[in-house]
Symmetry: C2
Subunit: 187 residues, 2 copies
DNA sequence: CTAACAGTTAGTACTAGGTACTAACTTCTA
DNA sequence: TAGAAGTTAGTACCTAGTACTAACTGTTAG
């Protein structure tokens, strides 16, 4: 693909773009793409501070390995720190900027909801449950990096219906409250 | 960490487990973990058909490179198929088993909530919004693989508060309804 | 008791995809 | 036309392996 001469600056700009699009390219492939020697590619990466292929692949792998876990978790969102089955429970969720809006760094609502819902499910003494009705309120926006402490309380149980209240706090201040009605399914 | 003799079978079982938990372990680290030589680790991997570290890392990277994009999207959960800013909108979310409980294959509530909430945000004509209050109800469980069609309608606007109703259907049948009050933040 | 075998270890040659470095060549430019 | 910038070539070395041969250890069957 010998593009007929482009400047060093231009090549380095394109190289950066190419590698952000596809971090799996080897120096050898880049050599063919830009029609320069492998040493030039390596000098470019050195100047631009772009690590080698294996390092780039590892970074992508590590980044997503934790991210996916955090989103879908095993089952519960946040870390369960206390639990009395059928009574109450506490979970902690450390927020990060991946959970937030890019502009404002305010945590997206469904992450908070997910913590509350999954804690509510954890506290009831049933194998599988579904959220029937939820009445929720977000009191205050949460910033990326803040630690969410969720407290759940089973208030009533009627047949296979559980009424659970969940309150989420950031340093004593309430940021969320939710009333869930969970329905357990017997198999 | 020389565990005092374990059988080959047992070691290979544990090795498989260790590597599914943490695919970033080198043969050298595994050698220390199991107290055997590096050749034994390599024979084990060969017998078990487990590829080398760099291949494993690459697989994790490639797998998630596409998956994560689908989970967090740019901003909206599901695909936006129709939108009249300030009035209404429709989004479609194709569910899969990663969004469901392992046992029952029923979609976890917060994914449905996330689709509804993000659609509600998309329809209101404001840069950034937060969910203030949500009153929601799950009518019917959703199975993995079903296609969720969400319809949002802005019913009232008062100052920086927007009242949005969202209904989600699976083939004409309503599975979710939510009333959101969204608050736009002016910067 | 010993031969046979599984299991383990040791060692060598080779690989990809590099780093780090020296040296030389080409091209532009003052 | 000298010198700097840019490019290319080549070498030694690195990691985390594969693929292979050879030898050693421990158990077990005849």
């Amino acid at each position: 693909m010998g593009n007929k001469k482009i400047s060093k600056k231009e090549r380095q700009r394109k190289l950066t773009k190419r590698l952000t699009e596809d971090p799996f390219l080897t120096d050898e492939e880049l050599m063919d793409i830009f029609g320069v020697s492998i040493q030039t590619i390596r000098l470019d990466r050195l100047e631009l501070g772009i690590p080698e292929l294996r390092e780039r692949v590892k970074q992508v792998a590590e980044l997503n390995y934790s991210k996916v876990r955090a989103i879908k978790g095993t089952e519960i969102i946040g870390e369960l720190v206390d639990l009395n089955l059928g009574e109450n429970g506490i979970s902690i969720l450390a927020t990060n900027k991946d959970m937030a809006f890019k502009k404002t760094h305010i945590i997206r609502g469904h992450h908070i909801f997910a913590q509350a819902e999954s804690l509510a499910m954890a506290v009831i003494d049933a194998d599988v449950a579904l959220t029937g009705v939820a009445n929720i309120k977000y009191n205050n926006p949460v910033k990326a990096g803040q630690k969410l402490i969720a407290k759940a309380q089973v208030v009533r149980k009627r047949g296979n219906k559980y009424f659970v209240h969940v309150f989420i706090y950031v340093e004593q201040e309430q940021v969320f409250r939710g009333k869930f009605i969970l329905v357990s399914i017997d198999e």
